[in-house]
């Protein structure tokens, strides 16, 4: 069996005093594999991604990313591991406003393992491959499409084993959404990173060879008020 980029085992998470929102017995993603996880709004998709990235502490279970049990690490060790093993792309992109495209990518490289001397070339190379034209322009002055590319470049900057994409196309029209997803898949493949994308957009299903229903792997009942991605 190929090395797993992601492996979840008996993962449980609930808000203090509240019901469980995530209860996953087993879930895995192979190295270089790309999967779409679908689920309705508020079903716990973002919470699951934050558990995988080690941004939330699971109540029980294990999260292995690239063979490392992220959940067993604490504090700065976990942050370092996340920085070099996990890339994230958000619906709202979450670029660092006031900084240029290349600076946004350099910010990610600051927390990775690549030698500092290679940072600039790596950032410029990635942005060039992704078609970002004005790499020294402040990100807020770029079009949404260009910003999306900067966000993808930032997620891949440190050569992560796993890229987590949280509704990255939610704010795009269908045509641009298709272009963005194809670009994301293509670059992840080139970089050898696995991709787990969550979306509630049914149109995304046809673009992934593997589609997982969150409802089918999450045994927690009536998830609500999830991780901040709750939508009315």
């Amino acid at each position: 069996m190929a090395e797993q980029a992601l492996e979840l085992t008996d993962l449980r998470y609930g808000y203090p005093g509240g019901p469980l929102v995530i209860e996953v017995a087993s879930y895995g993603l192979g190295a270089g594999e790309q999967a779409l996880m679908v689920g309705s709004s508020g079903s716990g998709k973002s919470t699951l991604l934050q558990l995988i990235a080690g941004l939330l502490d699971a109540d029980a279970g294990a999260v292995f990313v690239g063979g490392t049990d992220l959940g067993s690490l604490r504090g700065a060790s976990r942050d370092r591991c996340r920085g070099r093993s996990v890339g994230m792309v958000f619906q709202t992109l979450n670029l660092l406003v006031g900084f240029s495209a290349v600076e946004n990518v350099l910010a990610a490289l600051m927390f990775g393992q690549k030698p500092a001397a290679e940072h600039r070339a790596r950032a410029e190379g990635l942005l060039g491959r992704l078609g970002v034209e004005r790499i020294d322009a402040r990100v807020e002055s770029l079009s949404v499409g260009q910003q999306q590319r900067v966000a993808v470049a930032r997620a891949l900057a440190c050569g992560p084993a796993l890229v987590l994409a949280d509704e990255p196309t939610a704010s795009l029209d269908p045509e641009n959404a298709a272009v963005a997803v194809e670009l994301l898949k293509e670059v992840c493949q080139e970089e050898g990173a696995s991709l787990l994308m969550v979306s509630h957009d049914p149109a995304m299903r046809e673009r992934f060879g593997r589609v997982d229903e969150l409802a089918s792997i999450n045994r927690a009942s009536e998830p609500a008020g999830i991780g901040g991605q709750v939508q009315a």
Partner: protein, 452 residues
């Protein structure tokens, strides 16, 4: 908005640092400025009502001395008392030239008296007053007086009766060539009594019978003496004796000659005295003994410059303490400003902090980043404060020099500066602790929550 907020915060730190530097620098500068000028005399005997007034008037040219006394009585006194006077320099203030004060004195003012201990007078051009000179109507210019008036060696001028304001007046130079009609219109003071107190700031008539020749320009001494013109006592006595004669006999009475002067007309407003001590010693029982003897004579007051300056500075010191306290308050409020600016920005930067955490920044690193930002604000503020302080130093020094003839050498970049700048950075770091703690504790999930 955040850029503006940061700029304003840096500005407030800069102002606080500048204030602290100026105040700390000026404390010593004030003392040094007052110490310059009183020179190597041990005491001043004057006709003023109090020792401090005597020092201010006769050494710092603050105002015209209020009364004079006969020099021969003074000389008779110390000789009769057998006081070990090493030298004495009599002086009289009462005339002016274009508002600048004229000190009538004896030639040993330039040889015995050192304006700053160990720094004797030096001539820049020409010569000092001639002890053997046949013509007493000569003038030596202080360096600043020469610069302000534009006078040079050989120039001939008239002096004005009255002390002048101490500041250069815009009136044209009074010279024998230009005086012309002015002398006709000059307000001759028929009631002038040379021994009477001179009204401070009062402007009298021009001594247009007596032409003074500029014979020398002194090198700068960085003291109030630089703004003064120096003439001979003999010339002063002759011109004022002539005034007195004309007051009695009418305006056509002839000018007085040196031979005609009587002892009662040979008055002075102050005498600088040095007591004979062992070489290089400024402390001796003889000084205190002489001081007590002079003080026992009601004809004059006697003052020791060092103690009067200390008294003056202790008066100023309480004001200085208030100013220093205010500067500390400004300093602390600038720290509070940093705290508020960063604390408020933490709410706005919740997302940035969350993104940095996602990218791999540890809580500790985020904490340090905020502290570094805070320290940078403190450092920039310090540098700005240093630049502002140096600029203000130049301006303040210039104003004091121009207006009061006081040479303030404010040492804003001395050892205190490093302490203030380091203090500002430490204060900034301390102020950044709370915002850094907020960033440390901020929830990544909450930070990544979409806006709206």
């Amino acid at each position: 908005m955040r850029g503006l907020s940061t700029t304003l915060t840096v500005l407030s730190v800069g102002i606080a640092v500048a204030l602290m530097l100026i105040l700390l620098g000026s404390r010593e500068a004030g003392r040094r400025a007052f110490e310059r000028g009183s020179g190597n005399m041990h005491m001043l005997v004057s006709g003023d009502s109090s020792p401090l007034t005597g020092i201010l008037n006769n050494v710092y040219y603050a105002n015209a001395p209020r009364s004079a006394f006969v020099l021969s009585r003074f000389d008779g006194f110390w000789r009769q008392q057998r006081l070990p006077v090493a030298w004495r320099v009599p002086s009289a203030l009462g005339d002016s030239y274009r508002g600048l004060r004229v000190l009538a004195t004896e030639p040993n003012f330039f040889t015995d008296f050192e304006p700053n201990p160990g720094e004797p007078w030096e001539i820049s051009e020409g010569r000092f007053l001639d002890p053997e000179g046949a013509d007493p109507f000569e003038v030596v210019l202080g360096s600043e007086a020469a610069r302000l008036t534009g006078l040079g060696i050989g120039d001939r001028i008239f002096l004005t009766h009255g002390p002048g304001s101490g500041k250069l007046e815009a009136a044209p130079a009074l010279t024998p060539d230009s005086i012309g009609d002015q002398t006709d219109q000059a307000d001759h003071d028929d009631d002038y009594d040379p021994t009477a107190p001179v009204e401070p700031g009062g402007v009298g008539h021009v001594h247009d019978d007596f032409v003074y020749t500029v014979v020398g320009i002194a090198r700068p001494t960085a003291s109030m003496h630089d703004r003064v013109l120096f003439s001979t006592l003999t010339a002063s006595w002759i011109s004022h004796g002539t005034d007195a004669r004309r007051a009695q006999m009418g305006p056509d009475a002839p000018v007085m000659t040196e031979e005609e002067l009587v002892e009662q007309q040979k008055v002075v407003t102050g005498v600088l005295v040095r007591i004979a001590t062992r070489e290089g010693r400024d402390a001796s029982p003889a000084i205190q003994m002489a001081f007590n003897r002079f003080r026992g004579n009601p004809q004059w007051t006697v003052a020791q410059p060092a103690s009067e300056i200390s008294r003056l500075l202790s008066i100023i010191g309480s004001v200085e303490g208030v100013l220093l306290a205010m500067a500390v308050v400004v300093f602390l409020s600038s720290g509070l400003g940093i705290l508020l600016a960063l604390y408020n920005s933490m709410e706005q930067r919740r997302r940035q902090v969350a993104v940095l955490r996602v990218l791999g920044a540890s809580r500790g690193r985020v904490f340090r980043l905020v502290l570094i930002e805070s320290a940078v604000i403190g450092l920039l503020g310090s540098l700005l404060g240093l630049v502002v302080a140096v600029g203000l130093d130049g301006a303040v020094t210039g104003v004091f020099r121009e207006r009061y003839g006081l040479y303030l050498a404010i040492d804003v970049v001395g050892s205190g500066a490093a302490l203030v700048c380091v203090g500002a950075v430490v204060l900034a770091i301390a102020a950044g602790m709370l915002p850094a703690a907020v960033a440390y504790r901020s929830s990544v999930a909450r930070g990544l929550r979409p806006l709206g």
